[in-house]
């Protein structure tokens, strides 16, 4: 912290201050002030018209913890727990699917890399919501996947009952992985691409086979990309509500859906604010714990 302020005193960083001022203004007006408002209203109460009565009450947080006038209910805790679990599962799957792909692109001939990266980014040209809707076509009872499965099984003369895949946690997971995969692939690709090819040769030269080269050289050197990708995937997945809304229906409610409904349907912004704060704190705890363990990989990336 001391260093931070020292930096401001030198002439160079005064110029730096000028450069960050637009972003700083933006952050203050659109992030810091709204955040303070959310914190304040999370301690408020709901009046009958759906406005916030500004006071200091912990009742929203007590309600989230499960205590309400009617008794004890674990509904909200389940929602938070489900969101956390789904975010972990999504991140893990995105790493498992994205790593080999990022590795493949990074080791492809230089000319082909741009084409491959382009192909990875092409889906992002389509609207987020439309891409999620496409999964309905694939997953529903009369959908593409059931159609193909039925056709294959009919060839083998096996009776087929279409699977109920839509509106399940699995459907939400598939949708999340699909939506957030590029955000893992890109930073991981950057990390992998930076690894000098001679390091692979050096490892082989020193007696490491492909597996040991991967574990001792490739994986540790690509960790910074994986950490960055994890942060880019985990945080938005914790808060998103569109994927679960469309592919989970009323069956899979996440904390994002809870917050959205408090603000739009239930007209209880105070309770919605409290849920937002809890979501933020949970995300922060996980992120801090994660980066403490793996670091941002500074000493690796600056090599």
């Amino acid at each position: 912290m001391k260093k931070f302020f020292q930096a401001f005193r030198s002439k160079d960083s005064q110029r730096g201050l000028w450069l960050i001022s637009p972003a700083l203004l933006w952050m203050i007006v659109l992030l810091i002030i709204p955040l303070i408002l959310v914190v304040i209203s999370s301690f408020g109460l709901r009046d009958p018209d759906g406005n916030v009565i500004y006071t200091f009450s912990l009742s929203n947080y007590v309600r989230l913890a499960g205590y309400n006038p009617a008794g004890f209910d674990t509904l909200y805790i389940e929602i938070l727990w489900r969101s956390l679990g789904l975010a972990f599962q999504t991140t893990a799957l995105v790493i498992l699917v994205g790593y080999p792909l990022a590795y493949f692109v990074a080791r492809a001939p230089v000319k082909r890399r741009n084409l491959l990266l382009f192909l990875i980014l092409v889906p992002l040209w389509t609207n987020f919501v439309i891409r999620v809707y496409a999964w309905i076509m694939i997953l529903r009872t009369q959908g593409v996947l059931n159609g193909v499965l039925g056709w294959v099984l009919s060839l083998a003369h096996i009776p087929f009952q279409p699977l109920e895949m839509l509106y399940t946690p699995g459907a939400v997971l598939v949708g999340m992985v699909y939506e957030f995969l590029p955000f893992m692939i890109l930073p991981m690709y950057t990390s992998l691409e930076k690894i000098e090819p001679s390091l692979y040769e050096a490892a082989a030269d020193l007696g490491a086979n492909a597996l040991r080269t991967f574990l001792r050289v490739t994986l540790p050197l690509s960790l910074p990309g994986m950490v960055a990708g994890t942060i880019l995937v985990f945080i938005p997945v914790m808060g998103t509500f569109i994927v679960s809304d469309i592919l989970g229906g009323r069956q899979v409610i996440l904390v994002g859906n809870l917050i959205q409904r408090q603000f739009l349907d239930a007209r209880d912004p105070a309770f919605g604010s409290a849920a937002s704060i809890i979501l933020m704190i949970m995300t922060l705890i996980v992120t801090v714990f994660y980066t403490r363990t793996f670091g941002f990989g500074e000493e690796l990336t600056s090599a």
């Binding site: 040769e201 082989a204 086979n209 001792r216 050289v217 050197l221």
Partner: protein, 364 residues
């Protein structure tokens, strides 16, 4: 004990080129590298020296021919199963590991007992004069130090052959000279066969027991530094190693080794050749600048000329002389006398002399 540490038998390597054509990087190369020698592969970039080294290491597989290491054919053996280690041009130290971990990597991969690794690492670092550097990271070290770590990391495995791919290329001149001597000393101490790839002829002459001069994927000449400098077998080798005057002409007559060559300007040069030549054949007479003298004296070749430039470089003075036949020659006179003055000035008429044995007749 097999006589040769490494043997290349009719080895070729062809790559698909950038526009689909086939590039022959190494063309039917046969080499025998003796056990315990410091062997250099010397040539300009693209001559196939690095590809040859990479085929010994196993990073490339020959398109034709076979590589033997201590009489064992290598075939498809992957790099991690070959008894050789490489020092890379850019060192290729693992940036996420400490120096100690870098050096320990090889023994670990070879499943050396844990208790034996630390002493071996310490010993290897002492050998390259970096004792106690185990805890540092590669980027905390200078280029020369990283170079030494790369050496230690390779030598700790006690390879049968050490391959070095232009390892001093990135160092500055002074450090490079130091490292040259150090490498040579180290090689004598450990007694391991070193195969050294370089484009720097001085480096090769300084360190090597034997040198292979390569060009266009072919080995042109193999020999001791003296062989290659004094008795180059073709124009390319004479030109690539050191400085040479070439006098172009046609063979007038040959009697054993003695050849007379007539230049287009009408000079008759007496020189020596090892090969049989035919009268009228186009040849080059190669004479090193230090083997020519200014001033009249008894010699087989005595030519008149005019000094066009004089360059004083301390130990020597170089004279650019236009011979009466029209050819230009550079003559090097050593400044051995105290307070030595140039023996001629620009514009002076001089006599250039050299003995027949100093002039070699070479074909293209």
């Amino acid at each position: 004990m097999p006589e040769f540490a490494v043997e290349l038998r009719n080895v070729s390597k062809r790559f698909p080129g950038p526009s689909g054509e086939i590039v022959t990087a190494v063309n039917n190369v046969t080499l025998q590298i003796r056990d315990g020698e410091f062997f250099s592969m010397l040539g300009p970039s693209g001559c196939g020296k690095t590809t040859s080294l990479r085929m010994i290491a196993g990073f490339e597989l020959p398109t034709a021919g076979e590589v033997f290491i201590h009489d064992r054919p290598m075939g498809q053996t992957p790099p991690y199963q070959r008894p050789v280690n490489t020092v890379f041009q850019n060192y290729a130290l693992f940036p996420h590991m400490t120096i100690g971990e870098n050096v320990a990597f090889g023994p670990e991969m070879k499943n050396v007992a844990k208790a034996d690794i630390a002493p071996r690492v310490r010993q290897a670092l002492e050998m390259v004069r970096l004792p106690g550097y185990e805890k540092r990271k590669p980027k905390q070290m200078s280029g020369g130090q990283q170079q030494r770590v790369a050496l230690a990391r390779a030598l700790v495995n006690r390879p049968e052959v050490l391959l070095l791919d232009e390892p001093l290329g990135a160092l500055d001149l002074k450090l490079r000279k130091e490292m040259q001597l150090e490498l040579k000393t180290l090689q004598r101490e450990v007694g391991i066969t070193f195969i050294y790839v370089t484009h720097d002829q001085e480096e090769a002459l300084t360190m090597s027991d034997r040198i292979a001069v390569m060009s266009g994927g072919v080995v042109l000449q193999v020999g001791h530094a003296g062989d290659i400098y004094e008795r180059p077998n073709c124009k390319f080798v004479a030109d690539f190693i050191g400085e040479t005057n070439f006098i172009e002409g046609t063979v007038r007559e040959q009697q054993g080794r003695a050849v007379s060559v007539e230049t287009s300007g009408g000079l008759l040069v007496r020189a020596e050749a090892e090969a049989a030549l035919t009268v009228g054949q186009k040849v080059f007479v190669a004479i090193r600048p230090e083997k020519m003298q200014l001033g009249p004296r008894e010699a087989a070749n005595i030519f008149l000329g005019r000094v066009e430039d004089v360059v004083y470089i301390g130990t020597d003075t170089h004279y650019g002389v236009r011979l009466a036949g029209g050819q230009r020659a550079r003559v090097r006179e050593q400044n051995t006398a105290p307070g030595s003055k140039p023996v001629a000035q620009q514009g002076d008429e001089v006599t250039v002399t050299f003995v027949a044995a100093a002039a070699r007749v070479l074909t293209e």
